[in-house]
Symmetry: C2
Subunit: 359 residues, 2 copies
DNA sequence: CACTTTCGTTGGATCGGTTCAAATTTTGAC
DNA sequence: GTCAAAATTTGAACCGATCCAACGAAAGTG
């Protein structure tokens, strides 16, 4: 079969068809960019020449340089690209980001990389007008790289309480976590376990409060602080609350629960720092015939749609994910230099995965 | 609070720091592109100048023009951008596309538009090395636009049996649909209904076989042909099989089932042209206390992961979605002009949504 | 010390367009 | 038929880099 994609170079430029049509390149440019100001006869002649020479229209590469604006925003993460399509939180966020982009006609470039050198290069060479940075993991490095580009950028998921110089949109993780913990203490729970998000890029396993305080990712740290502040308030010895650091996937969550429920004093309440973990936990508990919320209550964090249809439906702290996405796009596109940090409210949504402490 | 994003122009160019450092722009360029060939003393001086002037590294816009390659592939659809994150089929496809891109270090640009003029402009001005075109809907227009760019592109979901000049990756829809229908006829079913994908951009409602034959989208047409070829083979009068055209969402599917089950002779088997429709159908049937597969069997098409965990799990025709994505990326990136059309095999996966015809 | 290498640097050409002030042609009015 | 106004067209400048042939200086050789 004949080749259907031409692999040959396309050396036909605007200048070529200008010459062929016997006009200046300025006029040729106008034919495509502002056809109305070119006399019809000339316009047709140029278009005919373009057609004849197989010209595919002005190359955006050229236009770009002059125009300055790419009209696309980059969305960056330290995870593999498929994260955007597989992680529930990311998906909701991306759906709202993409709606905001659609509304303004901006495109979206997904930026990521398997390894770190690639990441740097990808960020440096991304053709975008600004970045939205997903900070779930490897956040600080990403923020650093994005900042070096000197383009407008917004970090999603407030990172670092110390670094006030980066624009960020997030929620009050401490307050949210507090809400989750208080809900459970009010139900009479006294024995807790925490499923934690990554602390650093270091795999998974049981961890301690001290480790968590050193967490690279402030979201993880703040959520733990929120949990423990509330637990301490009702005189629960937080030093004895097991914390298991996961990488937010099924394997590590299940390993975590294996570990937690191997102990003598099993928890009646599980605080999961993400809905994804909470949902995996629900699966594990069902598999082990542990009733939810009869034996164990589970409270998640994020408010992804899957939580509403899980078995049982998940009690969780919902973040205004869509709103965050919308604001992020707005901050990039209407960047007037005034945007800084913005903290959005979270909300406790009680569904069926939490109930009174047994006995 | 002080502005955290500088909205000011960034007039600092490579040439500026070259002048500041007292070197030629050629040398300045080398400092960033090939630092090792520049004498250390000079390199440091240039870097210091860059730092001092707030230079964010060579602007990719400039590099791009010279280099020619964008190192990104565009993925285009006629749907809103959020389609990529919400539709199950699209998500699986995108996950595999993005994995393939990750592996080769290529970026992904999402291209779409609310309205059609925008679509054209977006395709024309997308900074990409090639396009992967989602043909589920509005396919032909998209293919046309993509082709005009004279960039390598691949259509996903074989469109149009007539147009042999476009590279495409898809499955044999006729054979797949035949498999689905045969599965049901072998279970003794005689009364069928078809939930059809869009025929044109025309909303939803009951339709006829004649309408379907004129379908703009060959996938829709071919699947119907496949269904009917098999039904005819076992002497079912296909003229009496109701066909309801949906737009692949809950509302139109439910309306379709309302319509179909309002008739005197209700079907015992539903052929859905997508898993998404089939899953919505399952919901509708459950809501109406119609047992699946006791009263009605449902067979989908696509093989999205959700089908494996639905209630009941969905019998369906699975397409090698991931493989298609991989091939598409390969076709764009290793574009040697030899790629043409490729048809991948489908497979019937029997789960619990199909069973023997009642009585 | 003259002569060839080697290393580092320079500056012009180029990528493919857009833009705009100036030049030219056309049109309209008298 | 003349002249000003309006409509088109031109061509140079520019966008921000990379590339490369040529060149100058330092190092090595006989």
């Amino acid at each position: 079969m004949a080749p259907l994609i031409s692999a040959k170079t396309r050396p036909v430029r605007l200048a070529d068809i200008a010459k062929a049509a016997g006009v200046s390149h300025g006029t040729a440019s106008n034919v495509f960019a502002r056809p109305e100001i070119v006399r019809e006869e000339v316009r047709e002649r140029v278009k005919a020449a373009a057609e004849a020479m197989g010209y595919g229209g002005p190359d955006p590469k050229g236009r770009l340089l002059r125009a300055g604006k790419v009209n696309a925003i980059g969305v960056a993460t330290a995870e593999p690209l498929s994260y955007f399509f597989e992680d529930p939180f990311a998906r909701v966020m991306m759906a709202s980001i993409s709606q905001a982009c659609d509304a303004t006609g901006a495109g979206i470039s997904l930026v990521s990389a398997a390894n770190n050198e690639q990441l740097a290069w990808n960020i440096q060479s991304a053709l975008v007008d600004g970045f939205i940075v997903f900070c779930v993991d490897g956040g600080s490095k990403l923020v650093e790289l994005a900042r070096e580009r000197k383009l407008p950028f917004v970090a999603l998921d407030l990172d670092s309480d110390d670094d006030d110089a980066v624009a960020a949109i997030g929620v009050d993780n401490i307050a949210g976590a507090g809400l989750a913990a208080r809900h459970l203490t009010e139900l009479g729970h006294r024995r807790f376990a925490v499923l934690a998000l990554p602390v650093a890029d270091s795999g998974f396993g049981p961890t301690t409060r001290e480790q968590m305080e050193k967490a690279l990712y402030s979201g993880t740290r703040d959520r733990l602080r929120g949990y423990f502040a509330e637990l301490s308030r009702v005189d629960i010895d937080v030093e004895r609350v097991p914390i298991y650091e996961t990488v937010n996937d099924e394997e590590s969550v299940w390993a975590g629960l294996d570990h937690i429920f191997a102990g003598a004093e099993t928890p009646t309440a599980i605080l999961a720092m993400s809905d994804r973990m909470a949902l995996h936990a629900l699966d594990w508990l069902r598999k082990h015939d542990i009733s939810v919320p009869g034996d164990v209550s589970v409270v998640g964090f994020d408010g992804v749609p899957e939580g509403a249809v899980s078995k049982p439906p998940l009690t969780t702290i919902v973040q205004p994910i869509a709103e965050m996405g919308r604001l992020a796009v707005k901050a990039i596109l209407e960047n007037d230099g005034s945007f800084s940090r913005q903290s959005l409210p979270v909300e406790l949504v009680v569904r069926a995965s939490s109930g009174p402490s047994p006995a």
